[in-house]
């Protein structure tokens, strides 16, 4: 089961983790990742997305991961709107028979989400002014290490 949701509401990471679908007979590993707003030098963060394309793009990254590793279920929930420091911004879980596939697929989907899902961050500085966040070359390089054919 693969699912992607974009949420305007705060993420309840405990509930998401508890409710993540797994099979008692077949799921041996669930890897989860939560990204949080780092509050260093900012008073708020806001995220904008492209409804429809954002969800499909993340789903494409999940399908790309599923072609590489035997994963059973993958779920991604990404926040949009205004967030405060310390709030969860993205939550991702991967269920698989064994941990190696779950760890790798989790990292792969996050790396591709960063560079290919239409989401844009703005930060509000301590003086109250908003600035768009520039894309990081390091994120692109990190995704590229999975190989050229992996572009979702």
């Amino acid at each position: 089961m693969f699912s992607v949701a974009i949420s305007k509401e705060p993420l309840d990471v405990s509930a998401l983790t508890r409710d993540f679908p797994r099979s008692a007979a077949e799921t041996g590993a669930v890897v989860t990742f939560t990204g949080f707003v780092r509050g260093e030098g900012i008073s708020a963060l806001a995220l904008e997305h492209y409804p429809g394309m954002t969800e499909q793009s993340i789903l494409d990254s999940i399908h790309s991961a599923a072609r590489r590793w035997p994963v059973q279920s993958v779920q991604v929930v990404h926040r949009v709107g205004e967030l405060a420091a310390g709030e969860p911004i993205v939550w991702l879980a991967v269920g698989a028979g064994h941990r190696a596939a779950a760890f790798s697929a989790c990292e792969f989907v996050m790396d591709y989400l960063k560079i290919s899902a239409p989401l844009w961050k703005r930060e509000r500085d301590l003086e109250g002014n908003w600035h768009w966040v520039d894309a990081k070359i390091a994120d692109r390089d990190r995704a590229r290490r999975w190989g050229g054919g992996a572009i979702a």
Partner: protein, 83 residues
């Protein structure tokens, strides 16, 4: 034909979409960029000339030579910064 703009480009445009007459639909993405650059403010025109600014056609990232028709949903946006 509606052209959507997101994030910094939307702010530069001052609106989330720009309309061109269906009859004026350019042949491809490169021609659309060139056409838009003549119609928008200097800052947005400069961004549209930036190869790092993406164009999506029907919600898929498109190359400069992708052909267009007036019913396509076309969008421009800067590099992604989610996650």
């Amino acid at each position: 034909m509606k052209i959507l703009f997101f994030a910094r480009l939307r702010e530069l445009l001052g609106s989330d979409c720009f309309e061109i007459a269906d009859a004026d639909c350019p042949a491809d993405v490169a021609a659309l960029r060139a056409m838009l650059r003549l119609s928008v403010n200097a800052q947005l025109a400069e961004s549209l000339a930036d190869p790092n600014v993406f164009c999506a056609v029907n919600q898929k990232v498109a190359g400069e030579d992708q052909t267009l028709k007036s019913s396509d949903e076309v969008a421009f946006f800067p590099p992604m910064t989610g996650g």
